[in-house]
C-alpha cells in the first residue's frame, strides 16, 4: 500500500486515506489561449514510467491538498511538499537526483 506523509498535518497517511488528484504543476489555459494550449491543458498529461509529480488530497484526514514526488515504476516515494508552490522545492529535486541521476520531468530536472 502506498504511504505518503501529509506535509499539512504530518501524518503518514495510507492510500485508503488519500485521494489522487492527478498531475502536479499544471499551467492553466483559459479563454484567449490558443486551441492547442487549451487542448493540452485539458487532455494531455505527463505519463512517465519513472519520476512523476502529483497532487494528492488527505481526504480522510486533514482534508488538505499537497504535492508528492513518486516513481510510477517502483512506487517509491521521493517526498511530499506543500501545494502552494509552482515547482518542486530543491530538497525534493535533490532527493530524486540521489536515487535517479539524470531524471527529467517536463522542464524540471
Amino acid at each position: 500500500m502506498l504511504i505518503l506523509n501529509c506535509p499539512c498535518c504530518g501524518v503518514d497517511a495510507e492510500e485508503s486515506e488519500l485521494a489522487a488528484g492527478g498531475e502536479a504543476h499544471l499551467k492553466r489555459y483559459g479563454p484567449g489561449s490558443s486551441e492547442d494550449d487549451f487542448h493540452d491543458y485539458l487532455f494531455m498529461r505527463e505519463n512517465p514510467k519513472g519520476v512523476h509529480f502529483e497532487r494528492w488530497r488527505h481526504a480522510n484526514g486533514c482534508g488538505k491538498w499537497f504535492h508528492a514526488a513518486r516513481c510510477t515504476q517502483t512506487l517509491e516515494v521521493f517526498g511530499t511538499y506543500s501545494a502552494q508552490v509552482y515547482e518542486p522545492p530543491q530538497e525534493i529535486k535533490d532527493a530524486i537526483t540521489a536515487k535517479r541521476p539524470g531524471w527529467t520531468w517536463r522542464d524540471f530536472s
Partner: protein, 414 residues
C-alpha cells in the same frame, strides 16, 4: 500449418502424439517488412491477422518485448459483451462480439467462446435509469440486450442475494450472447494463423526507437537491430505513451494498474457472468471451476503490474454481500495489468502526426472483448487509410470535442 481436427487428434493418438508441430515459428527479423505491428497481444495479432486475411498484406512482422500474449491479454477476466451506450462503441464492440462467435472455426483454433450471458447488476436507482437507457440505445443499435427485473436475475443466478442491506439488487442489463472466451487461446490462435500466412512473430525483441524521414516512418530500432517498414502499427496498451514519445508525439493517456483475482476451484455454481459496477466487482466461473473476480483500478499512475491489497478487500467485501456463499472461498492468485486510460474512457484507433504510423490503444479496462473488432478496424485503417469502425475513435476527437463518453455508462467495471 497442419489443420487441427478430431481426425488429427485420433491420428496423433495412434502415434504417441509425435506429429504435432509448433503452433507458430520464431524467426529472426528480416531486413524489411511492408508493415510492422509493435505488440503481440490480442489486438496486435488480430490487426496483423486481418491485414493478411482481408487486405492481402502478408509481409508483416509482429514485434513483442516480452512473450506473446503476456500483457493484458493474459491478465484480464475474459468477459465479452457489447452493451455500450454510444453508437461508435456499440459498433466496434458488437463487431468484435459477432466475430468471436465463429472465431474458433475461422482460426482453426479452439478459443472456447462461451456465450453464457452477461448481467450488469443495477444496485442503485441511478443505475436502473442508466441501464434502461442503455437497453433502449442497444435496441436502436441492433445489439440484443434486455432490461430484466430482480426475479429474473435470481432465476439466472441462484446464488445471488437480492436483499443486501447496502447493495440490493434492483434488476440488471442482460446480454444473452455475451460471455467469456479463453484469453490465452485468442492470442495463440491469432498467432498461429498469422504465422501460417508467413508473418513473423518476433518475441523478446524490444522496440527502442522509431526511425523517420521527412515526417514519415521508415522503420524501428530494436534490441535485435534496425528493421525497415512502410507502415507501423503501435498496439502496446499500457506502454503506448512510451512508444508515442519515441515516435515524437504525445497521447492523451495515463497508465494505471487494474487487478483481478481467482478463487480455488469449486463445483459449478454460476453459469453466467455477473458485473456489479456500483461496487467495482465482477465475477464469473471458469471452466476449471475457479471464481474469476475483477476489481477496480488504483486511481493513480502506476506501471508496476501489481495490485494492492485494500482494493481486493473492497471488491471482495462487496461481492460477499451479493454472493454470501463465496465468503469462505480461498483466493488462489491475484495479479495486475497496466491499462492506458483516456479522458472519455474510449479507445484511440487513429492515424498519428507521424505519417505511416498508426496507433491502437487506450482500451483502458475493457480491451479483451474488443480484440477481433479492434483488429478488423485497425487493419482496414492501416491498409486503406480509412475505416468506418475506427473513424470516431481518432486522436483529434479530443480537440474537436467529439467525445465518446463511456465513463458514465461503463464505469470502472468496463
Amino acid at each position: 500449418m497442419k489443420h487441427y481436427s478430431a481426425f488429427a487428434v485420433a491420428r496423433e493418438a495412434l502415434r504417441y502424439h509425435t506429429g504435432w508441430e509448433r503452433a507458430w515459428r520464431s524467426p529472426e527479423p528480416k531486413k524489411r517488412y511492408d508493415a510492422i505491428i509493435v505488440g503481440a497481444g490480442g489486438h496486435g495479432l488480430a490487426t496483423a491477422y486481418y491485414l493478411g486475411k482481408n487486405y492481402g498484406i502478408q509481409n508483416v512482422a509482429v514485434i513483442e518485448k516480452g512473450w506473446l500474449g503476456g500483457g493484458n491479454t493474459g491478465r484480464n477476466t475474459t468477459i465479452i459483451r457489447s452493451n455500450y451506450l454510444q453508437d461508435p462503441s456499440a459498433a466496434i464492440y458488437e463487431k468484435a462480439r459477432s466475430l468471436y462467435e465463429d472465431l474458433s472455426q475461422d482460426l482453426n483454433y479452439n478459443i472456447m467462446f462461451s456465450p453464457r450471458g452477461v448481467i450488469m447488476l443495477a444496485q442503485t436507482q441511478h443505475e436502473i435509469r442508466g441501464y434502461q437507457r442503455t437497453a433502449h440505445a442497444n435496441a436502436l443499435q441492433g445489439v440484443k440486450t434486455e432490461w430484466i427485473g430482480p426475479e429474473r436475475v435470481k432465476e439466472l443466478v441462484p446464488i445471488i442475494n437480492l436483499d443486501g442491506p447496502r447493495y440490493p439488487v434492483l434488476g440488471g442489463l442482460w446480454q444473452e450472447r455475451g460471455g467469456t472466451a479463453r484469453h490465452d487461446a485468442v492470442a495463440w490462435g491469432y498467432a498461429r494463423a498469422c504465422s501460417a500466412m508467413g508473418m513473423d512473430i518476433i518475441q523478446q525483441c524490444e522496440v527502442t526507437g522509431v526511425r523517420q524521414e521527412n515526417g514519415r516512418v521508415i522503420g524501428v530500432d530494436t534490441t535485435k537491430g534496425a528493421i525497415d517498414c512502410d507502415k507501423l502499427g503501435v498496439v502496446v496498451a499500457g506502454h503506448s505513451g512510451q512508444l508515442a514519445e519515441m515516435a515524437g508525439f504525445r497521447l492523451p493517456l495515463e497508465a494505471v494498474a487494474l487487478q483481478a483475482l481467482v478463487s480455488e476451484p469449486i463445483k459449478p455454481c454460476m453459469d453466467v457472468v455477473v458485473m456489479a459496477n456500483t461496487v467495482h466487482g465482477y465475477m464469473s466461473q471458469s471452466d476449471k471451476g475457479e471464481m474469476v473476480i475483477g476489481g477496480g483500478t488504483d486511481g493513480f499512475n502506476n506501471y508496476t503490474q501489481r495490485g494492492s491489497f485494500h482494493h481486493i478487500e473492497e471488491t471482495v467485501r462487496a461481492l460477499v454481500e451479493t454472493f454470501p456463499m463465496i465468503s469462505r472461498l480461498k483466493m488462489l492468485r491475484q495479479w495486475g495489468g497496466i491499462v492506458d486510460m483516456t479522458g472519455d474512457r474510449s479507445p484511440i484507433l487513429s492515424k498519428t502526426p507521424l505519417q505511416g504510423c498508426f496507433i491502437n490503444g487506450g482500451w483502458g479496462t475493457g480491451g479483451f472483448k474488443a480484440i477481433p473488432g479492434s483488429g478488423w478496424g485497425m487493419a482496414q485503417l492501416m491498409a486503406t487509410g480509412h475505416s468506418p469502425l475506427t473513424e470516431a475513435f481518432s486522436l483529434d476527437r479530443f480537440k474537436e470535442g467529439r467525445f465518446i463518453d463511456e465513463s458514465v455508462a461503463a464505469g470502472v467495471a468496463h
